[in-house]
Subunit: 226 residues, 2 copies
DNA sequence: CGCGGCTTTGATGTTCATCAAGTAAAGTGG
DNA sequence: CCACTTTACTTGATGAACATCAAAGCCGCG
């Protein structure tokens, strides 16, 4: 008898080193939860009891700066969001996570996972690698964005959505202008202004949430040198 | 017969879960190297063969932006620098590391360490925790610095040296003004300007590399709200 | 239908990067 | 060890990039 976990992408991506018994144990404690667009998965400061991974959907990881302002750390699609920064290093979340699109999230009790890490070193190694890679990537991206001027950041983030997330030159933005600003350290007004500029220059088409890249070469050049 | 590793801080900090045999094996493959102030420990792009930890001294982790400019990611003292970001997630270093002060670094072959991770899950868990914590802290610090204006950043970095590194209100800067700028995303001229301002306001004394905090309350307030 | 949040554009102000120029310190080669 | 070169440090003046303020239209939602 097979369960749905056996055919999940994560089976080979993350749990390849678990034997049948171990994997069975894990899937027993596993719960799958559905989050509607906008719903919050976990909040900064809450106690960490579970290990999450994103099966389907799109999430944002963020910190609350003050009542009016958030800082978005990263946007993650499946395989880019496993566990969470801080799951193994803190007792409480240091970031919040919410759903940008309807999402399916798998939840494993942290204690069960820790036991597996301790009993299966190969699995521990895989997890260590994946989480390190995730961490590195987030840090590198933040550093990269910081080097760019506002035009460069805007171009960069459009390309990120097109290439990494939607794999298409045409897509609907899953975030507001304000959220884009919070993601790339800008003010909302400037995001809007620069999007308009890029449209007037014939580099992108934009209408509400819908974006289409017209001149990818130029957009990439702006992203790189801006 | 004891070796020096038995009395090293890292024995309990990182290697507590290794038994005598395992620890013995590790220390056999261990080499200790001495780096003089200014020397480079490893370079961005080089193949990763070793796992490093800082026994004594002070390091900077940085990326080269272009021939004239570096970006400093973090400054680490012992126990804050174990392994390196990217050791487990990449084949090649994504950052460089050099010594800000004369430093002793212990070097373990990465393969030997990986074998231990795979055979000893408790050790794996400890390593995962420590490295995650290091990663989280670096990311949080970068985010925090970015929220501050130049005055706030300068105050923050002075307090970091005083509280985290030298544990004293009076200390000698281990870095140049240019390096401070590279660490907190500023221009050298502005670092100098603001240090002078803080001196003129009677908040710090500064003479060459020597800094003394006079009014810590005010400095902390500048760091927090700046 | 009215309120609040999102979007947009224009005008204004501030912060910070850049340029320039000079002094001091430190490293380099004869 | 001294002349020479380079690098670090410092201050002032200027301009560009970006934040802030203001106002108005839009949309969704109670």
């Amino acid at each position: 008898m097979t369960n749905t976990c056996d055919v999940c992408t994560y089976r080979s991506y993350l749990f390849d080193n678990l034997n049948k018994t171990e994997f069975g144990l894990l899937t027993l404690s596993r719960k799958e939860m559905f989050f509607r667009k906008g719903e919050i998965i976990c909040r900064e400061g809450e106690k960490i009891n579970n290990f999450y991974y994103l099966k389907e959907g799109l999430l944002k990881v963020y910190k609350t700066v003050d009542a009016r302002k958030e800082q978005i750390i990263s946007i993650s699609n499946p395989l880019d969001f496993i566990g969470l920064l801080s799951v193994f290093s803190n007792f409480n979340y240091i970031f919040s996570v919410s759903a940008l699109e309807n999402s399916s999230i798998c939840i494993i009790e942290l204690d069960a996972l820790k036991k597996l890490i301790q009993s299966n070193g190969e699995f521990a190694m895989t997890l260590l690698e994946k989480m390190s890679k995730m961490n590195d990537q987030i840090l590198e991206t933040r550093l990269l964005i910081n080097l760019k001027n506002l035009r460069g950041r805007t171009a960069y983030i459009i390309l990120m959505f097109a290439k990494d997330i939607y794999k298409s030159k045409k897509f609907d933005l899953p975030v507001s202008r304000k959220e884009i600003a919070e993601l790339i350290d800008m003010r909302t007004e400037n995001v809007i202004r620069i999007l308009s500029e890029l449209r007037n220059d014939g580099i992108i088409k934009i209408e509400g949430k819908s974006i289409e890249i017209i001149d990818q070469k130029r957009l990439e050049s702006i992203s790189e040198f801006g």
